[in-house]
Subunit: 160 residues, 2 copies
DNA sequence: GATTATTCGTTAACATGGTAAGCATATCCG
DNA sequence: CGGATATGCTTACCATGTTAACGAATAATC
């Protein structure tokens, strides 16, 4: 870091006080932190032919043996239009299955196939490793703090 | 939940312990927190015909009167391919300008036009309002904690 | 019970994310 | 010098994000 010239007088060029510096805006910090985490997962998932979002869908499905598309959308935090495309993809690959309940034929019950569960089982150990590495890099304490803060942040901002 | 057959012999249905619940994985928490914040900004930006990313680019440019595309990419946290398209868009609307330095004609100097700066000026007050609302909802204290934690998280995870 | 309003999922249209490859220009180095 | 390498940006391709509108099916209202 030999270049030290960027630290000049700068008569405060427009951006100032209660408008946070670009580098320090909350959305930016959240984005960068998330990117730092995901950089570790993506290559691994890609090795299994999965995107981050496809993996989110599979994970959500594992925990409940079948849900409506709406529930799945909420659980995976993927909006219906995106989810719709993702499900087409996963169905085409035989990882999930869609059924139409007779009583309400607007809905679609989504469930993992055996193939889907099997893939999940193959990915989990790798995922686990990354989580461990992250937990170790951060320390259990800061990790817990961060979790709590993020959750409260979301709660306080969502309702209002 | 009348169907109880999925709980068969299966050597522990894979998902458990040190593999965090889906709802509580770090990437998920970061994503949801960020979404809670951005939900407030997007409609406002949309009112000015801007996407979140276009706004990031403009903000980055305001703070420095001209940068190379690479610097801009790093500053706005948008990868070169996306940035390239965004710049075409903004240039077409007369919000930014591109110039080719003579000494290195691979590079591209990007700068805001007067029109671009003007738009920035019109958006800032609204952006400020949202930031205030967020700061108020969270409280200055938690806000500071969160900033520090996020920044440290990123640092610890990026290098390794 | 026919009309209206809601709901659920999908498609459409445009913009971005992510990876790989392309192309031009600069730089290295024998 | 001149060919091999590296750099800066763009294109290409596929997947997803975001908003709006659509279509089928159900629920609500009179």
């Amino acid at each position: 870091m030999s270049t030290e010239r960027r630290r000049q007088a700068q008569p405060a060029p427009v951006s100032n006080r209660d408008f946070p510096d670009f580098e320090h805006s909350l959305p930016m910090l959240l984005l960068r932190a998330r990117e730092a985490v995901m950089e570790r997962f993506r290559p691994m998932l890609r090795g299994f032919g999965l995107t981050e979002q496809q993996w989110r869908v599979i994970r959500a499905l594992v925990e409940s043996s079948g849900m409506d598309a709406s529930e799945l959308s909420a659980a995976s935090y993927i909006k219906p239009p995106s989810l719709s495309r993702i499900l087409q993809n996963l169905e085409g690959r035989g990882l999930i299955r869609r059924r139409k309940p007779r009583r309400d034929r607007r809905r679609a019950r989504i469930a993992l196939t055996a193939r889907g569960r099997q893939l999940f089982g193959r990915v989990v150990p790798h995922s686990r490793e990354h989580y461990s590495a992250i937990a170790q890099a951060l320390g259990a304490e800061k990790m817990a703090e961060l979790y709590a803060l993020l959750d409260e942040t979301r709660k306080r901002l969502e309702l209002e």
